[in-house]
């Protein structure tokens, strides 16, 4: 993840409002071109990179990151041409969206509301394209609206995700998947669809893949944790407690490679959770969080934390592998040559 800015920009360009994550498939195909990994997309929209270990009956480890971002869905076209919207996703403050440009298919417009932006609710926004009549509008009910808010690189290691949210963690998954580690278990990297609508994609993945271990990655509000102090190993989320042994493994993995990490048990209700679905599928569960300031607006994170998250995830997979095999995990061929 050497050039985070350009990677984030490429990811941002995928336009993956909840329910329309198909753009991510091309991004992943370009990032992971090797045919040895199976890349599939299910009917819900999850993109899964499957890295088999080649051993029948091997354990299954699932890692998820959100594939979607906040946006709107068209609910109605007013006779005067206003495109009425419903907010697609939670955890975002709506007032700062007032006046931003947005795109709906062929339509480009500005997000407005008749109400005071500070009081506007999830059904109070509309897209003004300048049309004066519904007949001018090509958009239809059910179309998705993407907000024009590119990420911003600041000084001192800081990045503003500007609404990309947990989608930024897709970079961690592609980074780790690219390493092509030869492990003694199957790994499924799931870029989970409709995460902002209640972790729907992750829940479906848990049910269909039935993993032995499931680790979820997402963005979490800082407060009890600090931006720049490392990824957060959560002992619990809004839906329940993570598995203690996985929490301990994550800590040991971080310590083994000498990266800073934080620990928290704070239950953030604004962050969707698939924990109960993972547990219902019989999986042990882990939760990794990227701390974020101004979580509901500009979403400021640390570039170093993002890189450390990838490193921690890789180290954890190796740690689990060594726990199962009792030995050293062979390094990928590329690293050996170097």
């Amino acid at each position: 993840m050497n050039d985070i800015a350009s990677a984030l920009s490429a990811l941002y360009s995928c336009k993956t409002v909840s329910g329309s994550e198909e753009g991510l498939l091309d991004f992943i195909r370009e990032t992971l071109p090797e045919p040895s990994r199976q890349v599939t997309r299910d009917t819900l929209g999850n993109v899964t990179v499957y890295c088999p270990c080649g051993k029948p009956g091997a354990k299954r480890l699932l890692v998820t990151a959100p594939a979607d971002e906040f946006g709107f869905i068209v609910t109605y076209i007013d006779p005067d041409g206003k495109i009425r919207l419903h907010a697609q996703g939670t955890g975002v403050s709506l007032a700062p969206l007032y006046g931003l440009s947005a795109v709906c298919g062929e339509e480009t417009g500005v997000l407005l509301s008749e109400k005071d932006p500070a009081e506007a609710g999830e059904d109070d926004f509309y897209l003004d394209t300048g049309a004066s009549d519904a007949g001018e509008i090509a958009a239809v009910q059910g179309d998705l609206v993407w907000i024009n808010r590119p990420p911003v690189v600041l000084r001192n290691d800081r990045l503003c995700l500007s609404g990309m949210g947990g989608k930024a963690l897709c970079l961690c998954l592609t980074e780790v998947a690219r390493l092509a580690m030869r492990l003694s278990f199957d790994v499924y990297y799931v870029f989970a669809a409709q995460n902002r609508l209640g972790a729907r994609g992750a829940k479906a993945a848990a049910e269909t893949l039935r993993p032995d271990i499931a680790v979820s990655l997402d963005l979490y509000p800082a407060g009890d944790t600090k931006v720049g102090k490392g990824p957060v190993i959560y002992a619990a989320d809004a839906a329940g407690r993570a598995t203690l042994s996985v929490v301990e493994s994550l800590k040991k993995a971080a310590e083994s490679i000498g990266i800073s990490y934080q620990v928290s048990a704070k239950k953030h209700k604004t962050v969707p959770s698939a924990l109960t679905s993972f547990a219902a599928a019989g999986a042990q569960t882990g939760i990794l969080g990227l701390p974020c300031e101004k979580f509901d607006t500009v979403q400021q994170i640390s570039e170093k934390d993002l890189k450390s998250m990838s490193a921690l995830l890789s180290a954890y997979l190796i740690f689990e592998d060594e726990t199962i095999t009792g030995g050293e995990t062979p390094l990928p061929e590329k690293e050996k040559e170097e």
Binding site: I73, T75, H86, D123, G142, A204
Partner: protein, 351 residues
């Protein structure tokens, strides 16, 4: 049974969430001669399989829910009056209503304080369900106990009746209309294999459908429901959500599901080609079992609904023409299952 008589029987049968057995028995009786497989799962869902004579290319599930909103008797007071828990309703809608309790349909009345006794400060307040009780005319606890009402369900005493225009009024249109449409489809001549699920516990939060999803593992689910029509007096524009008399409803999203966009578009196109009146919902509200199927089975989902006013109350109102539009569209979709399956399984999948 005659069509409307079946709808009437389904609506009038008791079937509060957790107590669905009477209505499921009625459905079982109607559909059994047409099924190649019929069973109750451990959750209590009634699941049927009707074989066709052609392959559709995938596993298709038609789903509806058999339960209705209602009450459960939780306590008998010393003076014979009954305390209850309400399922799926706002207390405003059931004050002063007649109910029928348990297998023996003991009549009762949800008591409301007469206006003469209401204090000034109480006038603008709606009592909570905890403060209400059902009066069955018993004078003491023993008398009520002997009637066997404790821990029984209670349904509204609201018979099915035709009304003005093409409308009908009844309790439990949500979702006995769905049950009716699925019965009609299952009992007709149809080409392709399909599963039919009459789910329990939907009004308690989509309780029964996840079990169906895990057993049937569908590729495609078409969920048939009633949906709230907000075309009330004084409500205009998009806040009407959907409108009685303007056709069947094809929702693109609700609180529990984002319906598979390709299926939604295909269904709309089919309706237009076949001149079947359809509309969509203009407000995102409510949720259906489709959400559970998406999450539990990862399957593609399509919603089809009949607009209904005043759902989750003692009496709901529906236009029969909307139900007929939904039935016609359902049959047309059923004839095209292979192309719907191809839509779902084909496209951007699998490298």
């Amino acid at each position: 049974m005659n069509r409307l008589n079946l709808l009437k029987a389904l609506c009038e049968a008791p079937g509060v969430s957790g107590f669905e057995e009477p209505v499921l028995s009625l459905i079982e009786q109607e559909i059994a001669p047409f099924c190649h497989g019929l069973f109750y799962d451990r959750a209590g869902n009634l699941i049927a399989f009707r074989k066709g004579n052609q392959e559709s290319g995938g596993c298709v599930l038609y789903s509806c829910h058999a339960d209705e909103v209602g009450f459960v008797i939780t306590h008998i007071e010393e003076d014979g009056r009954l305390r209850f828990e309400a399922i799926g309703m706002d207390p405003k809608v059931f004050t002063g209503r007649k109910v029928l309790i348990g297998e023996n349909k003991i009549p009762g009345l949800i008591a409301v304080k007469p206006a003469h006794l209401v204090k000034k400060e109480e006038r603008d307040q709606i009592p909570s369900a905890e403060d209400m009780y059902i009066d069955i005319g018993a004078t003491c606890r023993r008398e009520a106990e002997e009637l066997g009402v404790f821990a029984q369900s209670a349904v509204f005493d609201s018979p099915f009746r035709p009304m003005g225009g093409h409308t009908v009024v009844s309790k439990a249109l949500d979702d006995r209309v769905g049950c009716f449409l699925l019965c009609q489809l299952l009992m007709s001549e149809r080409p392709y294999d399909a599963w039919f699920a009459f789910c329990v516990g939907e009004e308690l939060g989509l309780r029964g459908s996840p079990a169906v999803a895990r057993q049937v593992k569908p590729d495609l689910c078409i969920n048939v429901e009633c949906t709230t029509a907000g075309d009330l007096c004084g409500v205009e524009g998009r806040t009407r959500t959907c409108v009685l008399g303007e056709g069947a409803v094809l929702p693109f999203m609700d609180g529990a599901s984002l319906y598979t966009p390709s299926l939604y578009r295909a269904a709309r196109k089919l309706a237009q080609e076949q001149n079947i009146p359809v509309q969509t919902k203009t407000l995102i509200a409510g949720g259906t079992d489709a959400g559970a199927y998406q999450r539990s089975a990862g399957c593609a989902v399509l919603g089809l609904a009949v607009p209904t006013r005043y759902i989750h109350s003692a009496n709901s109102l529906m236009d029969l023409r909307d139900m007929e539009a939904a039935e016609k569209l359902l049959r047309k979709l059923d004839e095209r299952l292979p192309s719907l399956i191809q839509l779902v399984k084909g496209g951007e999948h699998h490298e």
